[in-house]
Structure formats: C-alpha cells, structure tokens
C-alpha cells in the first residue's frame, strides 16, 4: 500500500518499486541535502566571520581589542561610534564621498543615457568603435589614465577639487552604465516606438512615454551599481584628491598612523561604510545580475 502511495507522490521514481529501494533513495537524497547545507554553511561562516569580527571590534573598549587571547564575550560600548560620528576625521570624508559619488552619477546619467540610446537605436558610422572605446575605459588599468591626468589636472588647477574628481570618476561609472543601458534598450522591440510615431508622436515623446518607463528599473539598478563602484573607488582619489576632497576609502586609513592604529574607531568607521552596500544588496541584486549578463543568458 505504502509503495503505491509513494509512487503516486513521486512520479519520477518508476523502476524498482521495492519499499527498501525507495527508502534508500530517499535517505540518499536526505544525506545529499545535508551535505549541500553543510558546505553552504561552511562558506557562509567564512564569508561572514570577518564582518562579524569587525562589528564586534567596533563595540569593544581599547583594552578588549588588544586582549590576547581575543575576547568573544565583552561589555559592548558605543564609544567608538560616538568618537567617529562626532569628529571631522570620518564625517568630512563621508560627506565628500557622497558629493563626489552623487555628482558623478548625475553627470554619468546625462552623458550615458543619450549615448546608450544612440548606440542601441541607430546604425551609424563608427558606432561599434565608439561603443568599444567607451567600454575599454573600464578594462584599462586606472593609473594608465590617472597618472597623466594628475599632471593635466595640476596645470588646470583641478587637482583636489570636486569637479576634477567627478570628471575622473566617469572612468568608473560611465562605461558600465552605457553598456548595460544599451543592452536593456536593444532588448526592447523598436516597434514600440514606431507605434508612437504612427500616432504622430516624435522620437522624444516615444522615448519619454514608452522607452524610459520600460527601462526605468534597469536604469535604477545600473545607477545603483555605478554608485557602489564610485563609492568603492580607491585608486582615483588616492592620486587625484588631496586635503580638501578626501573620500571615505582614502580617509579611513587616517586611523592607521605610524605610531599606532586606532582600532576601535577604525572598526566603527568600517561598519558605517558598509551600510550603502548592504542597502544595495537588499534592494536590487536581481536587476544587477540581469544587467551584467545581458545578452549572454536567454530565458
């Protein structure tokens, strides 16, 4: 009786309908699930342990931090956060990072959207060279352009200014935005816009009312991704920013001086700088994967 029940419940298991065989198979499946979960948990521990450790460190007193053996149970304190959030050492770079990152995103949007549209919807001479040229900015070593740019900026007084950094950050934000947007637009049939034209609309109305709405989620994800890349960027500000425009990635190293390392505040600053990335993960991971794999994965 039980065999027939199992057979109807699991239509895949057709042959060898003995009780013992199907039980063995099920047990094997359970073991397999157990192994998979164990392996995944193992990697998860490896992936999370450093983050958890830094988070714990950010809640410790200086004595607890340097204690040997390391302390896993301690009285948490918010002193490090208070110190980080009350002084300019962290807040100024944090603010600078926001200014530079958001500024670059706005500029990238105004440059990238029309460019991506032109590359996706028109055939014109030099189209592929332009597309390839823009994408290749992403694949060149940063210093290849940044080192000469440093001298050019020096002559034009753009070193250590927001404008200079925002211009240079286009190297990070523009190529991927254009690449992703182009494939989003190409995935939509041009008939959509032609229908608007038949009804007497211009290209601009077609773009505004039809295309823009359809690519909006993808655009949002691309902008988020660009935000993360610009926020994480290190080489560019290391060379091009100075005392006035220190950003978070270069600023956080102020906590490490030759005499000593301010472990606690550094850990607190680290934890605060993780927030944008985690927010991003919760909001748009799926869209980003779609964008990066555009054109390679169908279905």
């Amino acid at each position: 009786m039980s065999t027939t029940l199992e057979q109807t419940a699991l239509p895949q298991s057709t042959t060898r309908a003995h009780v013992s065989a199907s039980q063995r198979r099920r047990r094997k499946k359970n073991v397999k699930h157990g192994v998979v979960i164990a392996l995944l948990s193992g990697w998860t521990v490896f992936a999370l342990a450093p983050i958890v450790w830094i988070f714990m460190m950010s809640l410790k007193t200086p004595e607890d931090i340097i204690s040997n053996p390391p302390k896993f149970f301690f009285l948490p304190t918010l002193a490090n956060y208070a110190q980080v959030l009350s002084g300019p050492e962290f807040l100024t770079p944090f603010l600078n990072s926001l200014i530079v990152t958001l500024g670059s995103l706005v500029l990238t949007l105004f440059i990238g959207l029309p460019t991506a549209y032109a590359l996706a919807r028109f055939t014109f001479k030099g189209r592929e060279s332009i597309a390839f040229g823009i994408l290749s900015l992403r694949f060149a070593p940063e210093l290849l352009i940044i080192l000469p740019l440093y001298l050019i900026f020096q002559q034009s007084n753009l070193n250590d200014t927001y404008l200079g950094l925002i211009l240079a950050y286009q190297l990070v934000t523009l190529p991927m935005l254009v690449w992703m947007l182009r494939s989003f637009i190409e995935d939509l049939p041009p008939e959509l816009e032609e229908a608007v034209a038949v009804d007497g609309g211009t290209r601009w109305t077609a773009f505004r009312h039809v295309l823009f709405r359809l690519i909006a989620p993808g655009l949002g994800a691309s902008l988020m991704l660009s935000f993360i890349w610009a926020w994480n960027s290190y080489t560019l500000p290391l060379v091009l920013s100075g005392r006035n425009t220190q950003v978070i990635t270069t600023g956080i190293q102020q906590y490490i001086s030759f005499q000593s390392i301010a472990w606690g505040p550094m850990a607190a600053a680290t934890v605060i700088s993780l927030i944008p990335g985690i927010l991003f993960a919760l909001l748009s991971l799926r869209w980003v994967v779609d964008g990066l794999t555009a054109g390679t994965v169908k279905g």
């Binding site: 450093p50 028109f122 290749s136 070593p141 352009i145 850990a267 994967v289």
Partner: protein, 285 residues
C-alpha cells in the same frame, strides 16, 4: 520616424567627448612610456623604448610581471571553481536565496575596507593566528612574511570576489533547461559526465564574461595589495600596477611608470581579445 543623419552623433556627443577627454591623457602617457621622464628632472626626453628594455631585463620588472601573472592565474582558477561549485549548490535546494544574500555580502564592501578588515585579523596576535594555535597549528606570518604575503592577498581576493562568480554562475545555470540534464541522465550519464558534457558547454558564454571581468580585474589589482602590504615585504606582492604607482608617485619616474602600465594594459587587452574571439566563434557555431 524620420532619421536625420546627424542625430545619433548629436546624442552620442557627450559620450564621445568623455572618450576623447580620456584618450588624451592615455595617448600622452603612452608617449611618455617611450621617454625618460622624471618629474623632478625637467621635460620628457625620447629614449627609444629604453624603459621597456629595463622593465624586461631588471629583476624588479620581471618579478612584477611574474607576480601579476601568478596572482591573476591563481585567483581566476580558484574563484571559478569555488564560484561555480557554490552556485550549483545554491541552485540545488530551496534554501538558496537565504544563503545567497549572506554569501554575497563581501562583494558589496569597498575592497579597500575589506582588505583592511583582513589586515586587522591577520596580524601576528590577530584572531586568525589565535584560531590556528587553538586548533593545534602554528602561527603564520601571513601578510608580513615574504613567502606568504602573496598567498594572503590572494586569499583576500578570493574572499571578496568569489561571490561575483557565484552571482553570474547562478544566472547561467538557471538558463540551462532542466530537460537537457534529465535527458542525459536518462541516457545513463553520471553526475560528472553530465557536468562535463551538458552543464559546462551550456555555461560557456557566461564563463567567458566571468573570466574576462575577473581576469582583467585581477591583472590590474591595486586596492587590496596596496592597502595591505604596499607591495611588500620588500617586493613580494609588487605587481605591475603597484610598481607603476611606486615608480610614478613615490619616485616621480613617470617614464618607467607608464612603461609598466602599457605592458599591463596590453595583458588586459590580450585577455579581452581572445575571449571575445572565443565568444564570437561560439555564437557562430
């Protein structure tokens, strides 16, 4: 819709402008790589590629090329195996989404900050050494050992960027129709045979994307290395990108710095060229 012939150029103009604005420093730098150019010793002076000769003939230059290639090769192979393996595990059961959100976190941190976190943990009295000792092992020098430094930065790279392979790999695996795998299983293929003859070929297009991105980004890795070891101890972790920074910003020798960068740039292009070609062949077949 009427097409005016100049419209696409007009729309792409801002993009072209940025491209030209970036090409100018690139070409200037490329020219400097053929010059003897120290910032503190006046104008650039053409020296017939002497910089490249010394890059390929001195121990320093050859060592940096070796470090660059070792780093990239180890990192790409390790991350592809781990990433695809974990992606398959994540796609296996129903609990994949929960694990994924946690596993992906390292990828979202600024690499500089991730590297700093590891720097803290890998110090002599750090938590990793304590863990090793309490498990009966020996303390290691990690980032401060001449032999272990390169492997330590590779470990950090794997920690940060394996999720990148996982994310793209998962997307690729999901696009493989289940019937294909079932069909080959019915034909008697075991899991290994199934992976080699069904999964791997179907995964090829996305593997090309993964290897291009990870290959190029690991060839030009700077953030992790510079924030943890600054290329040291001595020059154990100095790859071409770090060498160029040390040459250019520390020693003000822009000629040598640009020569290393041009070689690095050529390596990056070689990868994208071969992989794009492979992909085109794939698309034709």
């Amino acid at each position: 819709m009427k097409n005016k012939p100049h419209l696409p150029y007009l729309l792409a103009l801002p993009g072209i402008a940025i491209l030209v604005a970036m090409l100018y420093p690139f070409l200037t730098g490329a020219w400097w790589s053929f010059n003897s150019y120290r910032l503190n010793r006046g104008e650039p002076e053409f020296n017939w590629g002497q910089n490249f000769v010394s890059l390929f003939s001195t121990g320093e230059g050859l060592h940096a090329i070796g470090v660059t290639l070792t780093y990239a090769l180890v990192v790409v192979v390790a991350e592809c195996i781990l990433g695809i393996g974990l992606a398959m595990l994540l796609n296996y059961g129903r609990y994949g989404n929960t694990f994924r959100l946690l596993i992906v976190l390292p990828l979202l941190l600024p690499p500089v900050i991730a590297a700093l976190m590891w720097n803290v943990m890998l110090t002599e009295n750090g938590v990793v050494n304590w863990l090793l000792e309490s498990l009966g092992g020996q303390r290691l020098l990690w980032l401060s050992g001449p032999d272990s430094a390169l492997w330590s930065v590779i470990l950090i790279d794997i920690w940060i960027f394996t999720p990148f392979v996982i994310l793209l790999g998962q997307a690729g695996l999901k696009s493989i129709p289940a019937e294909l795998r079932e069909a080959s299983a019915v034909d008697g293929a075991g899991p290994i045979r199934n992976f080699i003859s069904v999964t791997l070929p179907m995964l090829m297009p996305i593997l090309v994307v993964i290897i291009t991105f990870r290959g190029i980004d690991s060839l030009k890795m700077f953030d992790i290395i510079y924030t943890t070891t600054q290329g040291g101890p001595v020059d154990a972790t100095t790859n071409l990108h770090v060498l160029a920074y040390l040459d250019g910003i520390r020693n003000l020798n822009f000629g040598m710095a640009m020569a290393s960068l041009i070689v690095l740039w050529l390596l990056c292009y070689l990868i994208s060229f071969f992989l794009l070609k492979a992909r085109r062949k794939e698309a034709m077949a």
